[in-house]
Assembly symmetry: C2
Homo-oligomer: 443 residues x 2
């Protein structure tokens, strides 16, 4: 023990805070989860792209609202300020802007990759500082709500495929903006008041109101008016909520509000065709912290157990690409409208792992294990395994000169290898092998 202590004085044998390793069994589950999700994304015609793990720092700044403080910076060792990516959405928008006139004007793309946030880690809940996101986005000028409906369909297919019970909370930035405008929020305070509303899933209305008034200097009467919408209408189903808003004459006079309501109505028509309308629930208290959303926003929450919170989220962001691509000669923005969803796969992974019988997970793909009886027969085993490899068969043998018979059987069983090929003196003399079907033991 002392020596380990001595060593510890020199370095800590650990992964950095909020990061972790994944062993072979966890990887087996994770890769099967990714394969399931990839299959769904490809079913909807998506291609995949790859972007660097870090971006120029200026690309990320001003995109994440109050959460920008969670961005990891690289040390400046060579003249460029870079940061690890915070999500896959901003890099995708940067990618689209850089592609210029290429085919990327219209694109369905998925990306399954790691992102980085200096958040307070809660390892047991799957909240890490390095974690995977599975993103699907549709970029391009299409007709209203068609891509939005497809993205929500994909989200439902994905969570169904991994057998997660969920519901989707839906809102629209223009409905929210309408609420804020009708309630009398000054336009320079809209984003920060929106951030406060976003906390309603964790804080009480009283606490959120306090943040609006005491911290953010909003008039109490304005806050109360916001409250009639975001708190007072809670529990209403989507149809009654839409009806209520449409009956609110003052609200519907607001251009932003009425556009938002029309969008949601059209979206629900399409979701009905896609058989997922009942999965989606209009929730006026859903705000989403990120700055870049411009249209519908949504969040999938698990309904089986408390506390896991949001497992996927997304929305429409029509102006983000334009923030990078600028304007054309006539001063018109060269933006590309986009809508997408990001599945927080670590939380899904935690749920799946909890369901597993770890013993039964087979981590290798090995089909055949070669076992020698008697005197080692190293080169004979090597020649045989080589023959199998060259025939494309996944085969293993014990990397010892004279392995014990018992240890070879154990290795074969432990790895759940379906076939054992037994080689002994008799077999060699007759140029034969014995094959044992191990699957009866495995099942």
């Amino acid at each position: 023990m002392t020596t380990i202590q001595d060593k510890k004085a020199q370095f800590q044998l650990k992964t950095p805070k909020g990061t972790r390793d994944y062993d072979e069994k966890e990887m087996t589950i994770r890769n099967s989860l990714f394969a399931t999700i990839t299959n769904i994304f490809q079913r909807h015609g998506a291609v995949t792209i790859d972007t660097p793990v870090f971006e120029m720092r200026d690309i990320l700044s001003g995109k994440y609202g109050e959460d920008s403080k969670l961005i990891y910076d690289l040390a400046n060792q060579g003249g460029e300020d870079c940061s690890l990516r915070y999500d896959l959405t901003v890099p995708f928008a940067r990618y689209l802007a850089m592609q210029g006139k290429k085919d990327a004007q219209q694109m369905k793309r998925y990306q399954i990759a790691k992102v980085y946030r200096r958040d307070q880690p809660v390892m047991t809940k799957g909240r890490l500082r390095e974690f995977y996101q599975c993103d699907f986005d549709i970029a391009g000028q299409y007709d209203p709500m068609i891509p939005d409906a497809e993205v929500l369909k994909i989200l439902c297919e994905t969570l169904d495929a991994v057998d997660i019970k969920f519901k989707i909370k839906l809102n629209h930035r223009q409905i929210l903006d309408g609420i804020f405008q009708v309630s009398g929020v000054p336009s320079n305070k809209i984003r920060s008041i929106s951030s406060a509303v976003d906390k309603l899933d964790k804080l009480s209305w009283q606490d959120v109101k306090k943040e609006m008034t005491v911290e953010k200097g909003l008039d109490e009467s304005v806050a109360d008016r916001i409250g009639t919408y975001v708190e007072g209408l809670k529990g209403k189903d989507t149809a009654s909520l839409l009806q209520y808003l449409q009956n609110d004459v003052e609200f519907m006079k607001n251009a932003s509000a009425s556009q938002g309501v029309a969008d949601v109505r059209l979206l629900l028509e399409f979701l009905d065709v896609f058989n997922v309308k009942d999965r989606v629930h209009l929730d006026l208290s859903l705000a989403r912290g990120l700055d870049y959303y411009t249209g519908i926003i949504y969040e999938a929450v698990q309904t089986e157990s408390e506390g896991v919170g949001s497992i996927a989220a997304g929305g429409r962001y029509d102006d983000l690409v334009g923030m990078f691509s600028g304007t054309n000669k006539n001063g018109k923005s060269k933006t590309i409208p986009c809508v997408g969803v990001s599945v927080g796969v670590e939380r899904v992974f935690s749920i799946l792992m909890a369901r597993q019988n770890m013993e039964k997970i087979k981590s290798t793909a090995t089909q055949v294990y070669i076992i020698s009886v008697g005197d080692g027969l190293l080169k004979e085993r090597m020649a045989l395994v080589n023959e199998l490899w060259e025939a494309g068969i996944k085969a293993s043998f014990m990397l010892k000169n004279k392995p014990k018979l018992e240890k070879q059987w154990l290795a074969c069983e432990k790895e759940q290898i379906p076939f054992a090929v037994i080689l002994g003196k008799d077999e060699l003399e007759n140029a034969k092998v014995r094959i044992k079907d191990m699957r009866v033991n495995v099942l």
Copy 2:
């Protein structure tokens, strides 16, 4: 243009130096390359693990010799000094040390992941600052040269599978140490003189000798003696080289040297059984810069064209895990002997891309495209595509209310989708669709 200039004043629309995006066609080739390599790695019984993209800085320090200056550091924003991983070998050794008494004492593992080096990028040659490595390693106490032979067999299978012409240069750290000891290199200079020898593939013997003597203060007579081995024996084939060394009585008296020669002889016997002996060429000038190798070392170089250099490399590193795991109660190192190979897949990728007809790469997996004739039929197309999705069929449609017929055909052809399903008024009335086999056009 002025507006773009204005924007450029605020940020640069680019990826960081030495990094790049991969578009959908490049990803199609890259994913198929990874699938090929993964299949080979799994054929040899490997599992996969995942480790974080960054490590505690102390874990990486002192492992990479003169190249340590190329490590990317993260800014210290939260109390820990972290760096991006430089390779996958050191994190794997750290992982093994942390697993302690678990099954990881013996492990075949592969990992395909990005590593980071602040090197001078040469994009045209595929030398980037962020790049993929495909690693296969065998950890555990086995009998001599059996795992080493399997790793070299895997390297040959991998490069054969991607149709790269190559040869493998082989050396042994103990042979090199023997050469240095016999030549009279002081023991504290062995690693730095070894680094100089490693440059013989880029520099002339005169330049390397100058580095040894002028820069590193080695006696000229010692340098000359090294030269008789690493330069004087160039061009000899493996068998004559081994014979030459075995006839060198003084050399063979050195314990390190004779062990190295014995290892290489045994390795060649095993490689012969694995049908890859002729791929491997003993080369006394191969040194490999990294500090952690202890046994055989090797490098695969492409033989088709000049200048691409090493496309894969590896070796045995028996002490690296012990640097993390320390010693047991009796002061005995708790190390795990390892041997492995790392395929520098970016270079292979560059070669593969150069062979492609970009037009013919199909990036989506879409099987069916739905085309409406006449009046848009949006909801009818949506209902049909939904039916296909729910049957697991990869299907797409144009996300427009009333898409033009010609544009729909173009989209179908451009994505090389094999089947078009045509929906019109007549078809709807008869509850039928027309199916067109598009593959004749594609081929």
